[in-house]
Symmetry: C2
């Protein structure tokens, strides 16, 4: 009997998770991973902290070495090997060795596409100048960290989560940091009044923002960027630039092979992470998810989701049954000592869906007021009318925000109403919360508003 | 028309919460509160931190002053007034003024019993000696704090949550601390192997434990305690003693008036916090709750529950409809830098119910391993067989344990199975968790065990 061959393209989160889980469930499977990067199985989310200098050796970002994949799990990892074409009719894939430019064909019984996403870089004049970076891979992180040591000023294009994380890293490394954002608010996933609080906090830490503006042109001397010309006419001198406008799914190779790609531009899969071609699976940043609140496709590329999907794909690939139901778009990040977290829908997303809703913004101490480290958090809670079904929460502040958002994320997954939410028996002790937890206070306040008839 | 009169006996958490909420909902109600203590509306849970010296002024524990209750909320508060008899047939209550010993009768339309709980003190020889304390009221806290300043050694009888919190406070104030516990483990609510980890941690902080032993006798000089004789024959010299064996509900006054008291010894109420006498409500530490997992009565006196119940009682008292469904017995505390948290049932509680179950203990870093503050947590997760319904979690450690327990508490409230739990979209970023959160890792591990047939 021929040994069954699982081929995986992509070696970061979903790809390596699937490989390891498939191996654990089936010792007899042949497993081969091809990735076009230099490194495998790394935490891309940790790159801003590496740049900040919280640790010096980039190898700490590597979850597992190629040697360990081979020796411990009998998984063959090939770095700098790019998948260039999938041939579903032949059950094969064309791979290019980026060291030698050799192209060869590999047969698979099952294929996992885990090609991830790439940073979107608009084709502005001068964008190819040196010291204009994107941050996605370990190699990107090393290059940026090296340049930070030689720089005094940096411009970041795009005030999303990664833009802010790197802004903090640059600032802590002593750089003068300006963040440019096309929208009139930072962090587009959240509502503007919440974003405004975060912006004010970051400004107090010395980050400069220019909103409602984009980069029109980069100028340089000796091939190195020296200034950014903005659409508002302003010009900013800089020693380096980070492009963090957004990311795009690496779904082209799938699309060209006849695999369905959704409106989001990412690969469409069923709950079992299977594409429309039954022996081809996809997982991680290259696939779209289902929004658990409204059942619509959504694309929220995150390392945590990629890991979960890799596990589900592996279980189905080895013949078991597992499902990945969808996401709430939950995220958290920290900028300096400020936590930014969200789950479910923002008010603007709720409005776009034409839902009838109620919302409330409340401010709280995160623990008993007499405890020395009590700090403030702001909660924005959104619930549907008249059902009271919880739709989303944004929790931010110097206090413990993340804990509250995760409780709401769990509640939304269970389709809880505010009324039911008021019954949750979460923990209380003065070092951890006031006697009534802020998230319950917020729920009580929105409950009072929901009770008032709008008719 | 006569003004309706709400009388409340008890002025700490449930009583004051009910008073304020009832006032907010009904400006016309006459509201009078009688309490036998010196202080009202205080955070008893904060007393160990006051003793520890995290803040000096005990008034920081007072949520609201008697003056503010009167002036802002038109609520009359009478301290040092003890309710001594309820006369349901007369809709009246006999109150004793503890300053004057005068007894008078007060008419009510609605009555809330919020008499709380008291520390159980066994009648051991010498228990009335000076410097033997209990910790329940602000006055207790002040007395203990004063004695700590004059002491070098302390013995704590009872290794429950309060015993441990005060042990930390004493240790931080420089005392030599010995904790005596009748059981063979500390913190009886949790399982012994988890308790053992906590004990080892506390021992490293310099706390001494003597388990499986109780106090048989106290000896003193000049009326002050100087030593404790244990049931194992040992004698320990000490300058002070804290009795923290446990608490009992103050339900006698209710029982004598014909109000139902449950097997737990606490007052029985319906979901609306109503006793068997329709215009008499009860809330807080004097009432029993329903265990949300098995529907059985349980008595878990906690400030957070008292606050919620006070709110629900108020809404029903003013003619609205609100319900308090029950509890999971969730708790958290911190001892030094170690968090101890639990929700739902322990393994021994599950065994006592004769449930078929699966359990797993896992250890994790609480955030990405390359982050400087990553710390360890231990999770014990328990799920029912074969349904996979989550029954309980114990999460402890120097890392962020509490966040994980609250997610499980929310999931248990929704009667989630492990399978459903694996889908929750909780947040991820390196400063907050590894790519797959420890609680999901733990759930994945128990899922693997649940899949294996026991037959």
């Amino acid at each position: 009997m021929n040994q069954e061959h699982l081929v995986i393209i992509g070696g970061v989160a979903a790809g390596t998770k699937c490989a390891v889980k498939a191996r654990r469930e089936n010792p007899d499977l042949k497993i081969t991973v091809y990735t076009d990067g230099e490194h495998v199985s790394y935490s891309a989310c940790g790159l801003p902290y590496f740049i900040e200098g919280l640790f010096d050796n980039y190898e700490r970002l590597l979850v597992k070495s190629i040697k360990d994949f081979k020796e411990k799990d009998n998984i063959n990892m090939h770095v700098l090997h790019r998948a260039i074409k999938i041939n579903p009719d032949l059950n094969s894939i064309d791979i290019k060795n980026l060291n030698t430019d050799e192209i060869f064909e590999v047969k698979y019984d099952k294929l996992l596409i885990a090609t991830g996403a790439r940073v979107f870089v608009p084709q502005i004049e001068g964008v190819d100048l040196k010291n204009i970076f994107t941050l996605r891979t370990v190699a990107d992180g090393i290059a940026i960290k090296n340049q930070v040591e030689k720089s005094e000023k940096a411009v970041i294009i795009g005030a999303g989560l990664i833009g802010l994380e790197v802004a903090e890293a640059f600032k802590k490394r002593g750089l003068d940091v300006t963040v440019i954002e096309k929208e009139n608010q930072i962090i587009n996933q959240i509502d503007s009044e919440i974003a405004e609080q975060i912006k004010e906090y970051c400004e107090k830490q010395g980050i400069k923002f220019i909103l409602g503006t984009s980069a029109n042109q980069f100028s340089g001397i000796n091939g190195r960027v020296t200034s950014v010309l903005l659409s508002n006419g302003e010009s900013i001198d800089t020693d380096m630039v980070l492009m963090s406008i957004g990311v795009r799914p690496n779904s082209e190779i799938a699309k060209e092979a006849g695999i369905d790609v959704g409106k989001t531009g990412a690969i469409r899969v069923n709950y079992r992470m299977q594409t429309n071609i039954s022996n081809i699976y996809a997982a991680g940043d290259c696939v779209e998810q289902i929004n658990l609140i409204n059942g619509e496709p959504i694309w929220v590329p995150l390392g945590s989701t990629a890991n979960k999907q890799g596990r589900v794909a592996a279980l189905n690939i080895v013949g078991q049954h597992a499902e990945f139901k969808g996401v709430l778009g939950s995220f958290v990040t920290r900028v300096f000592d400020f936590t930014i977290s969200k789950t479910g829908l923002s008010e603007k997303e709720v409005k776009a869906l034409n839902y009838d809703y109620e919302t409330i913004i409340t401010k709280h101490r995160d623990r008993a007021g007499y405890m020395p480290n009590a700090a403030q958090i702001t909660i924005k809670l959104i619930a549907q009318r008249p059902s009271g079904k919880i739709l989303g929460a944004q929790v931010i502040g110097e206090g413990d925000a993340d804990k509250r958002v995760n409780v709401v994320a769990t509640a939304i997954t269970s389709k809880m109403t505010i009324d039911e939410f008021l019954d949750i028996d979460i923990t209380y002790a003065p070092p951890y919360s006031p006697a009534i937890d802020p998230i319950l206070k917020s729920a009580q306040a929105i409950e009072n508003k929901l009770k008032v008839c709008k008719c």
